[in-house]
Amino acid sequence: MKDLKIPSDLIVQCMHCGMCLPVCPTYNLNFLEKSSPRGRIRLIKEIEDGALPITDDFVNEMYFCLDCQACQTVCPAGVKYGKLVEGERIKIFELGFDKQALVKKIIFRFAFTSNFVFKMIARLVKFYQKSISKFIRKIKIDRLLPEKLIRIEELAPKISDRFSDEILPEVLKPNGETRYKVGFLTGCFMNVMYSEINIDSVEVLLENGCEVYIPKKQVCCGSVMAHYGDIKIAKELAKKNIIEFSKYKLDAIVVNSAGCGAFMKEYGELFNDEKDETLREKAENISRITKDINEFLYEIGFKNPNVELDLRITYHDACHLAHTQKITSQPREIIKSIPGVKFIELNESTWCCGSAGIYNILRYDDSMKILERKIKNILETNAEIVLTANPGCHAQIEYGLKKAGVNVKVMHPVSLLNIAYKMMKSSEKHLVESHN
């Protein structure tokens, strides 16, 4: 196991100016310094100096933090706050201070390490959603179930009818000339819950002249586990993906989930002390060529749609896109490229929605307070559609809108682009037909 100590250079970089306080979602819930990035860094410093033992409250603070990294974006001193908190979480997890560690280990190690098991569980959930759930409600025994279980049920989006990795073949060629060869991560949640977003993503890539490679043996990227501290399992998963994606000669690996993209861009760092040189080099290469789909489309100069979509649209910045990957303008450019779209900027668009991986399940009450703020801002825009590029945010915002009882649709920017592409194609077809 790697040394669990956090380098003191990372900690002293914080000169406690306090610029992070106004953007921290948790500080703005309780106005307590220990729940701010500056306060947490100070606590971490005391822990690392050996002046404070790992206390319950310290553990609580490390998990109260959403790891949204909004503080990193505003930090003038360039403190890598995410590294500090994630480092402490690994320590807490490894040393056995996380009381939920065993449950997390059992659930996540079992469910995520194999695609097969994960999809099996998804199918069970699907069966439950389709029949048992309604039955339970019909005979009114849902009141007997534990509250937490009911919440998980409500928070979970509907499982897709067919999973994307079963629809999509390993290699797809574009109609015209191949401009780029790209790998595509189907992901875990995206694959079973939002498989249509994966299909949209692949179709958009094909439309833009990409030959798409979808390794059959790819697994979950490992980000969820890494973010609550189970670095061992995260590394195992990362290694599998590194090997699978390295089998092809690719210009880019395209990821449509902000959290996964952010983590795959860290693969290189994750293996920087790896003895196996080829693995280390492969990991570095994967990180180098991984691109968020918005970022990639913008870079290659995506095909501008020429059909009108008369829609009022707003955009929520996923934390792992805006704060971790610093991608904010590219998705907006894509949205604005569609003629007829009225784009309304969302107030506090880079403020976390409270999803934060499995935060909304583990800390439901805190998560809901944060979500409330997001939903209020969304409703103020009067938009018909909220776009966001991360499955966690997608499900969370969908849940919040449903609870608020409003009819606002949540979509991935790429799905909107694909609608425009499809309309273009059908109008071209009409034109051809009318000519004939």
């Binding site: 970089q13 000169m15 100016c17 307590l32 310094e33 100070r42 404070l52």
Partner: protein
Amino acid sequence: MDAKVIRQLEEIVGRERVLTSIENRIAYSYDATPAISSLPEAIVIPETPEHVSQILKLANEEKFIVVPRGSGTGLSGGSVPLSNSIVLLMNRWRKILEIDTENLTALVEPGVITAQLHQEVEKYGLFYPPDPGSMTISTIGGNVAENAGGLRGLKYGVTKNYVLGLEVVLPTGEIINIGGKNVKDVAGYNLKDVLIGSEGTLGVFTKILLKLIPKPQSSKTLLAFFNSIKDAGKTVADIIANHITPAILEFLDNTTIKCVEDYAHLGLPTNAGALLLIEVDGHPAQVEEETEKIEKICVKNGATDYKIAKSENEALKLKTARRAAFAALARVKPTTILEDATVPRSFVPEMVEKIQEIANKHKIIIGNFGHAGDGNLHPTALTDERDKEEMKRVEMAFDEVFDYAIRLGGTITGEHGVGLAKKKFLEKQFNEPAIEFMRNIKRVLDPNGILNTGKIFELKPRCEGRLPTSREQIKKYANLWT
């Protein structure tokens, strides 16, 4: 601290508003001042002026020190706890109670965030000019306690120019109201000017009445780059001499430009020797005319490049980056010791040059930036608090900086306050009777010394000379304590 006292505090504000856990105490052991920290015994969160009053009365009875705190962004250690002290946390007092659009005033609670007040009053076409660097999180209460300045000080003045009235809890627990909405008011002593800038040593503000002004109709933000600080300095002098008073007239030296660019990615030329950030505001015609004049002055003084912000958004980005300058300097070295030595503005070029000379002499890096237009400089030593030897040299360098500033008729602090960080320099600036005047005010208002005592100056006279060590020497003083 005695468990009995903690219980009494809990009785006043409620159990959940007295924090004593080690995690909370650590989190309130510091503010934004480098290298100063100390644990408080407890953190108390009052909800009403009456709570504050009762807490202060208890402090007088039980003899503990009360340290008021807003967001903890002060740069002189004013809100850092002392021994046997509690933190009086005011950051939840966030209500704007009234915006009077007829008399142009705002009545606020002390925990209102400065930038939020800006936003709210601007909705009514009004303007609250003071804009300290930390305005996105600093509280109005803290701004008044420190008499905070900011970028717009040159044209619009500082916090004290906008305080009309105060509700204050005195150290002995009485609640008083001073000032009001009157433009003219000479009844009695001008007490509010004693309290503004008193750094939390003379009273706790519970309501603050602020003066507002109409928002300028238009503004323009400009950037000019120079090969040397000297050229930039001459430009500043020429702008003032031409009777132009920009709202903002800031300079950044090369070190600071590099760090700010690394943080904000604005496309600043990192090889520029210095830059000036200038904002003119007012009637559109006047803004236009002054912009032209400034451009000519810049060109005349050898500006290598000159540009006008294209949009309000771009202007905002430039100003935000400037406000973050001091923390951005931490990118070079982790500890940034920021001072605010201020000189009459005609001496700015001379002072800047002297600071560089002192830095070279002591072999330390000093990044320099500041409010060139009003003489308020921010020489910032880039160091590492783990390197004790270098910290020593930094201290020696700043000793010389302050000496030189005072020689030029300047001050040891333009806007950060004395607090703990600059206590030992106060005697350089004032003679003993002047400091004794301050001490006497403190003694009268706070006879038990319970409110942030130990900041600004020592109340007890200092021990002069060497302490007696040999038995014979000590004998002479034996009757003093028997």
